[in-house]
């Protein structure tokens, strides 16, 4: 089933002004639901409550209980029934309440969501979006601060993206819903309601492609690559480094699978130095994949090894320790210094 093209002339909202990332997601979901009656939202507490983060606030009231489903509390059930609904012709948007709760649904994601299209030689499409609030920094209990994106990037058949700001949140969620492939959509929950990643959203603008990385800040001393909540850390580091006379280029990956590394290769060929930032543990991860591919493509351009600033290879720690676990400005600048001193 081809995704319908969103007709901009039918937009109910002409200008929306400055939005938080959470409000931008809400508006993006609303716009997608208005454009296509087959789009349904399903998950725990997404209806009356509007989701525990209020990302789906008001949608059930306006679209009804058959388009915004408060589901029973079982993640395999959410994903597994969404597969059946997709087979039937719906475009379900599933909300997983917290990153660490996705694993009961892991079997359905890996065994059915990812493989059904290939199994049927393209006859059955699974246009599913699985929204996952991810990452730490919110002082939460266990299982509420994890970064499980690498599991899904490792799985053929899935596409994985992460937004870092309100403008991307607004567009990327709509593009993910229009995509005929299943998309894992990772949202930096720490910035849902924060002023930091607030931005002017212009529904009349032409969005960047979904599966494309983007240079957010040009520079020529070293390259910083980040995604999701780590983008802010990278941008802050670039600002701080400027005072030391270092011009850091910052690239937001946006798409984690497929990775769009062309802009990264271009940048590294100019700067010769790369630091990759992510909250996820480093072992067999998005960051290790980037390091591998950059050394393969930019071997003779590199002035220093690719360095990574990541969460540690531990279970996510108790909240009082998380500031030491999460990549921060100082750890990123330290890595930049080590790269420059190589």
């Amino acid at each position: 089933m081809a995704a319908p093209v969103i007709d901009k002339s039918e937009r109910t909202v002409a200008t929306v002004g400055s939005l938080t990332l959470g409000k931008a997601l809400n508006l993006g979901l609303r716009t997608a639901m208005e454009a296509d009656p087959k789009v349904i939202v399903m998950g725990e507490d997404v209806g009356k409550l509007g989701g525990v983060f209020r990302i789906t606030d008001g949608l059930q009231k306006d679209f009804g209980e058959h388009r915004v489903l408060d589901t029973p509390l079982a993640e395999s059930g959410i994903i597994g029934t969404a597969v059946g609904l997709a087979v039937r012709g719906f475009r379900p948007v599933c909300e997983i309440q917290f990153d660490g709760f996705i694993f009961p649904g892991f079997d359905q994601i890996v065994s059915q969501v990812a493989k059904l299209h290939a199994r049927t030689m393209g006859r059955v499409k699974v246009p599913l979006v699985i929204r996952v609030p991810f990452g730490g920094g919110i002082g939460a209990v266990e299982h509420h601060s994890e970064s499980p994106e690498s599991y899904f990037a490792h799985t053929a058949g899935l596409k994985v993206v992460s937004c870092s700001n309100a403008v991307d949140a607004y567009w990327m969620i709509q593009q993910a819903i229009q995509c005929d492939d299943p998309v894992l959509f990772f949202e930096p929950k720490r910035y849902y309601h924060s002023g930091f990643m607030k931005a002017e959203v212009d529904p009349g603008a032409t969005p960047a492609p979904l599966f494309a990385s983007r240079v957010l800040r040009a520079g020529n001393t070293a390259t910083l690559v980040a995604y999701g909540p780590s983008v802010k850390v990278a941008l802050d580091a670039a600002t701080a480094a400027e005072e030391d006379g270092h011009s850091l280029e910052v690239i937001d990956l946006r798409s984690l699978s497929p990775l769009d590394l062309g802009p990264v290769f271009d940048s590294v060929r100019r700067t010769g130095r790369l630091v990759v930032v992510s909250e996820a543990p480093s072992e067999s991860s998005i960051t290790s994949e980037i390091a591998a591919r950059v050394q393969q493509e930019c071997f003779y351009s590199l002035e220093a090894p690719v360095l990574r600033v990541t969460g540690f290879d531990t279970p996510y720690p108790p909240a009082k320790l998380e500031e030491h676990f999460l990549p921060d400005l100082d750890r990123v600048l330290d890595a930049v210094d080590r790269s420059l001193a190589w």
Partner: protein
């Protein structure tokens, strides 16, 4: 429950209580009892001896079944069994990597499959060759899975028969979602309503996905028939290892009807499944059917049932053969003569020969096939990987290396 305490709750004694490889005599007897008696609530319309027994509740659902229809049901079962035996033989001869036999479950599958309408949707497990037959899928289209050339070649949307699902229980949730969609689209509520049926085994009932499927279908009033073929064995584990309770009774805990039918009785299975689908299309779903049957052969061609069950049990079930009772009934009532049986056998042999011929001539799939359809929309990284692989292979073209 027909099995005694010591089977369901093994007491510690010398060695493990339920060592599959060496069952005690008590366990053998318990197993025989458990597997040869469906219990007083078993719905049966044709006895193993081929006698038609009245059932005030379910007779109405097969009142339209003529002698011609019964002959047709017989023919389907014979043909499906013949194709199944050919599949087994093809594996033994190295033509297939594995075969999953349905021997003994023909009545359950043909009865259920024939109860469905073209507008209904089916979600199979991996043993549903009989249901596939009823959905118009040629046995040839099943071979690719077992020969290793594809993962299923039929058009699941056109045939309304989902791809075989190998991970135990996954399809139950997928079916629940599909049935929810039928309801959301307003396709439920009258004689013309749609329904979905999902097939799974006794072992699958232990899976979380099956439990969740029961919950979802119940709370969304989904038009879904849960068709559980209790063939008594999940590879080496008896049904007693999955449940204290007869499986059909589980439905009550979820708030919908559960019923146990003689899965070796094609007429009873047809009647009960028609009833269940009828309930669903009118909006009274879901329904659980436990078709009480027996896996006459191994779990797959890789399995060796002599390690965990006694041949006495198999012999007992042979007396309840699903095909034989229909044959006896047809003969007794003069509804079929020898010419009919001979012609069915000839058709079955022709089907098997055709299947065999097809299997021997199945081409090796193109090497680059594995890169196809991983995504609906292109992935530049995967495209590059495929191109690199093809370039590598091209180096070997036309010469010995």
């Amino acid at each position: 429950m027909s099995s005694p305490e010591q089977w369901t709750h093994p007491e510690p004694r010398e060695g493990p209580a339920a060592t599959a490889a060496a069952p005690t005599s008590e366990q053998v007897i318990a197993g025989l009892r458990a597997t040869s008696e469906g219990g007083p609530e078993l719905v049966q319309l044709l006895t193993p001896e081929g006698e038609r027994v009245e059932n005030p509740e379910f007779d109405q659902y097969v009142a339209d079944v003529t002698a011609q229809d019964l002959r047709s049901l017989y023919r389907d079962m014979v043909l499906v069994r013949r194709a199944d035996r050919e599949g087994n033989a093809l594996q033994r001869q190295g033509q297939l990597g594995i075969w999953v036999p349905l021997l003994g479950q023909e009545a359950a599958q043909i009865g259920a499959g024939r109860a469905m309408r073209p507008t209904d949707m089916a979600f199979p497990s991996y043993r549903e060759h009989g249901v596939a037959w009823c959905r118009g899928i040629d046995p040839k289209d099943l071979l690719g899975i077992f020969r290793g050339t594809d993962h299923g070649s039929w058009d699941s949307t056109e045939k309304r028969f989902h791809p075989y699902t190998i991970v135990i229980g996954n399809q139950v949730l997928n079916a629940a979602g599909y049935a929810m969609g039928q309801r959301f689209e307003g396709k439920v509520g009258d004689d013309d309503g749609e329904a979905t049926m999902v097939f799974f085994g006794d072992g699958a009932t232990s899976q979380g996905d099956v439990h969740e499927g029961f919950v979802w279908a119940a709370v969304y009033d989904a038009p879904l028939v849960f068709f559980c073929q209790n063939n008594q064995w999940a590879i080496s584990e008896p049904t007693e290892r999955q449940s204290r309770l007869p499986l059909y009774q589980r439905a009550r805990g979820y708030g919908f009807p559960g019923i146990r039918v003689d899965g070796n009785d094609v007429l009873a299975t047809l009647a009960v499944t028609r009833w269940a689908l009828d309930q669903c299309r009118h909006g009274n779903g879901p329904v659980l059917i436990e078709a009480f049957t027996y896996r006459m052969d191994a779990h797959t061609t890789t399995d060796d049932p002599t390690r965990y069950r006694h041949s006495d049990e198999l012999e007992a079930w042979k007396l309840k053969d699903p095909i034989e009772r229909v044959r006896v009934n047809l003969v007794r009532h003069g509804d079929a003569d020898q010419d009919f049986f001979d012609s069915v056998q000839a058709d079955a042999d022709a089907l098997a020969a055709d299947l065999r011929e097809f299997c021997f001539n199945m081409p090796q799939p193109p090497t680059e096939q594995m890169f196809d359809h991983v995504y609906a929309e292109a992935s530049p990284f995967l495209d590059a990987q495929r191109d690199e692989f093809l370039a590598y292979h091209a180096e070997f073209a036309g010469g010995e290396h």
